[in-house]
């Protein structure tokens, strides 16, 4: 119960934030799940900045101020800020076609959602590590711990996985680690709802249901969504951001660019690698907006302001644990670049030479053969090859570029930076979850859009009227 109250407070705060910066869509089916994402990102960012950058201790007063600030901002902004516009292109359509194809997809999606909800809340927070940094960090935050080890743990977990599950505890509820898995489960449900609602709101329910089905058809993603790990959580934020990136391709609405940037900032706040993972997507989004700025002005400024939140999170992390510990991946990359391979990687490379497939082969098997990600990458590859000419027409090339860069990052990490965790199957499958979730969304919009062309119903009607005999009576 305490978790539900905290979740409601986070949603309310997120909704106020969306209204304050003009990113609410005006449709509750979209705004409600989006509020959970936005509220989580806000609570994580504000709490971490307050603690790491400003030295304000965590506690009930800080939490209440953090929750209330967006509402105050909304009150101030409703008269002064125009925002990026509210709605998309209208023309909502709620039932995907054809029904015989989408009925089993919807049934499977709903079944997975229920299973993740029940399994996630019925199992204790246990992993192969007996506890998990991602689950311990919220406890440390709730108890106000801010020593070296606590700062390290919170920086590794990331602000969102730290401060979202701990909100109820900070406000007085008893600590129960199930709040961690409950947070992941709720984000999973919010993602599915957001995908379906957004697709429907934009007149392409096929894309929305397709994305939800593709994500629930990745068995490993479902399993992780019922755990305390944050790989899927990061994937959920990234997938939600990609939903607005591909929507941006259809509508060109500045608000969609803003929503995508907001969600990318949220993804940057999940896990230590979140900031680097989303960096190329942020760059592509900025480039896309700058490109559009030639014809549609006024978008780049607000997007740049949202980017400031990303930089704030980076600054808070550096302040908390120091520059060297904030981004160990950059340090590892520098070491690899100059030939001084990390010891474990060098040892693992020796093992590879002696027996078994290399890291690259294992990565490919993880994508195509091992089944953790279902059939996704087979369909993705085939669709990319067969539908390449459509990419530009559908406006999905920008999002594809971003996706390709995230995949390149993941592959570089798995095969070059940390091959030992690929060779022992330690993290390679988990590291593919975020990019796979984003790929699922992109693929669904590629396949979903042309099945049911949006808009111009009058043109369709004219075509029908020429080819089909007019029905009379009955």
């Amino acid at each position: 119960m305490s978790f539900l109250l905290a979740a409601a407070a986070i949603c309310a705060s997120g909704y106020a934030l969306l209204r304050a910066i003009g990113l609410a869509t005006g449709r509750s089916s979209v705004d409600l799940p989006l509020s959970w994402f936005a509220g989580g990102a806000w609570v994580g960012l504000a709490s971490f900045t307050a603690r790491g950058l400003l030295g304000i201790p965590s506690g009930p007063a800080t939490a209440i101020v953090v929750l209330a600030l967006p509402a105050a901002g909304w009150a101030v902004a409703r008269r002064r800020v125009r925002g990026l516009g509210a709605r998309g292109d209208g023309g909502a359509r709620w039932l995907p076609r054809p029904a015989w194809l989408f009925a089993p997809m919807a049934a499977w999606t709903a079944a997975v959602a229920v299973a993740v909800l029940l399994h996630g809340l019925a199992t204790p927070v246990h992993t192969d590590d007996s506890y998990r940094v991602r689950a311990l960090a919220p406890i440390l935050a709730a108890t106000g711990a801010w020593n070296d080890a606590a700062r390290d743990a919170i920086a590794v977990a990331g602000p969102v996985p730290t401060y979202v599950p701990s909100l109820a505890w900070v406000l007085g509820a008893g600590i129960d680690p199930v709040h961690v898995s409950a947070s992941v489960v709720l984000t999973f449900l919010a993602l599915l709802t957001l995908l379906v609602a957004l697709g429907s709101e934009r007149g392409v329910p096929e894309a929305g249901w397709g994305a939800a089905f593709a994500i629930t058809s990745m068995p490993f993603f479902g399993y992780h969504s019922a755990s305390t790990y944050a790989d899927a959580w990061l994937g959920m934020y990234l997938a939600a951001a990609f939903a607005f990136l591909v929507a941006l391709a259809r509508t060109g609405a500045p608000a969609d660019a803003g929503r995508a940037m907001l969600l990318l900032v949220g993804a940057a706040l999940v896990k230590r690698e979140g900031e680097l993972l989303v960096l190329p997507v942020v760059a592509v989004l900025l480039a896309q907006v700058a490109w559009r700025e030639r014809t549609v002005r006024g978008t780049l400024g607000p997007i740049g302001l949202l980017l400031g939140a990303y930089l704030l999170a980076v600054a808070a992390r550096v302040a908390a644990v120091g520059a060297a510990s904030a981004f160990p991946f950059l340090r590892a990359a520098a070491e690899r670049s100059v030939g001084a391979a990390p010891e474990a990687a060098a040892a693992a490379a020796g093992e590879v030479a002696q027996a078994g497939p290399g890291a690259g082969a294992i990565l490919l098997r993880a994508m195509f053969t091992d089944g953790d990600l279902g059939i996704l990458w087979w369909v993705f590859l085939a669709s990319l090859l067969l539908l390449a000419p459509r990419l530009r027409r559908e406006g999905l090339a920008w999002a594809l570029l971003a996706l390709g860069m995230v995949l390149a990052e993941t592959a570089a990490s798995a095969t070059w930076l940390y091959p030992q965790f690929t060779l022992d199957h330690g993290t390679v499958h988990r590291s593919l979850l975020p990019v796979s979730a984003a790929a699922a969304v992109w693929l669904a919009w590629l396949l979903g859009s042309p099945i049911a062309p949006p808009g111009r119903p009058e043109a369709e009607a004219r075509r029908r009227s020429r080819k089909e005999p007019r029905r009379r009576g009955g």
Binding site: M105, S130, Y223, G371, W378, L447
Partner: protein, 372 residues
């Protein structure tokens, strides 16, 4: 000699999944045959003393007991048991001399319910099984066990038949949550002996349907419209893959809502049910402001970390015999032995700290102790 059908008594869903897997994967099984308990008692190899009683083959479990059964090539076993305490059964196969690593994936394990029960153990899906190997049972926890009946399938056909049956069994083998599941799921395999994975078959089927359909449409209608073929083929093979995953994962899902943290620990800490019970007991026994020390085995990091994590925010440390000050999980602080209010004792192989005495227990070597 009696004939009975295999039966999984553990829970209803387990039985449903077992039957579904059997119906889908293999031909109906022939009747199982009783194995005389005396024969097992005289020929089994065990790591601890076993007693042949009028009820069956009895032994105590304090930490673990490993047993090789003299049933070379056994594919399926059905065991009747009677258990007191909390016992986790792991099964696999070995050469009879070297003890296999019991927790290696795919880890086959099942919590034996208290009292009388029956378990059906499929050895064909365990790592490295072959007709030349013998069954290996590994009991962990705290309690005592009596094996009251053992049944097995009689050997049928030659080695090739056994390999074929193994391929069929692996095709829909249940996914069991273990220490590595969070890193990867056991891959769905279509034919283990040939190394053919299900996803490769589904992927090729998808490619043939999508590309073939698109090309055929192009040839017939002179129009390049691959989207419907990509979408329909993609959804069809995805649903097939989803169906296989559902059958495999169903026995492992915990779908009964559990609000209470203690209930979650007791029922669903599958890796170590005894540890789950002890952790739940500690949660219920230790006050919110009390300071806790955990005495565990020298190499048992999993036990003390699990306990301290679930007892948070209570100060909790691992008690090491030679240490002056004891440390807890990262960032949670340190405690001296004289600061402890409660000790959780978990098979440490060392005496309980002086000044403490047990107040609640789940076994002789697993209990909660308070300062006298």
């Amino acid at each position: 000699m009696t004939a009975r059908a295999p039966l999984d008594d553990r829970r209803g869903r387990g039985a449903v999944a077992t039957w579904a897997a059997m119906l889908l994967a293999a031909a109906p099984l022939p009747p199982m045959q009783d194995v005389p308990i005396r024969f097992v008692a005289e020929n089994a190899g065990a790591s601890s003393p076993m007693r042949l009683t009028t009820d069956g083959l009895a032994f105590d479990v304090t930490q673990w007991v490993g047993v090789f059964l003299p049933l070379k090539g056994a594919e399926l076993l059905e065991i009747d048991y009677r258990v007191r305490g909390i016992v986790l059964l792991t099964w696999g196969s070995g050469d009879g001399t070297t003890t296999p690593a019991p927790h290696s994936p795919p880890w086959h394990h099942e919590v034996l319910k208290q009292g009388a029960g029956r378990a059906t153990l499929d050895f064909r899906t365990t790592a490295g099984w072959s007709p030349e190997r013998v069954p290996f049972l590994f009991f962990e926890g705290a309690g005592d066990v009596v094996l009251t009946g053992i049944r097995t399938l009689p050997a049928q056909g030659g080695r090739e038949d056994a390999v074929r049956r193994r391929d069929q069994a692996i095709r829909l083998a249940p996914i069991r949550i273990d220490h590595t599941t969070i890193n990867f799921l056991d891959p769905p395999v279509w034919n283990a002996s040939r190394g053919i994975f299900l996803l490769d078959l589904l992927g090729i089927a998808f490619a043939v349907l999508a590309v073939g359909g698109s090309l055929a449409w192009l040839a017939i209608r002179r129009r390049w419209t691959p989207v419907p073929f990509l979408a329909v083929a993609g959804v069809a093979v995805a649903l097939l893959g989803d169906g296989v995953f559902l059958v495999r994962v169903w026995p492992s899902l915990a779908l009964r809502p559990r609000i209470d943290a203690g209930e979650r620990l007791r029922e669903n800490l599958h890796f170590s049910p005894a540890l789950g019970a002890l952790t739940a007991l500690a949660l219920e026994s230790v006050g919110p402001d009390e300071r806790v020390g955990v005495q565990a085995g020298a190499n048992d990091w999993f036990g003390w970390e699990t306990l301290c994590f679930h007892l948070a925010p209570r100060p909790c440390v691992r008690v090491l015999p030679a240490a002056m000050v004891h440390e807890g999980l990262p960032g949670t602080g340190r405690l001296g032995a004289d600061q402890l209010d409660v000790v959780v004792y978990l098979n440490p192989g060392a005496p309980l700290l002086p000044g403490f005495s047990p107040v609640a227990s789940v076994g002789a070597e697993a209990f909660v102790a308070r300062r006298r």
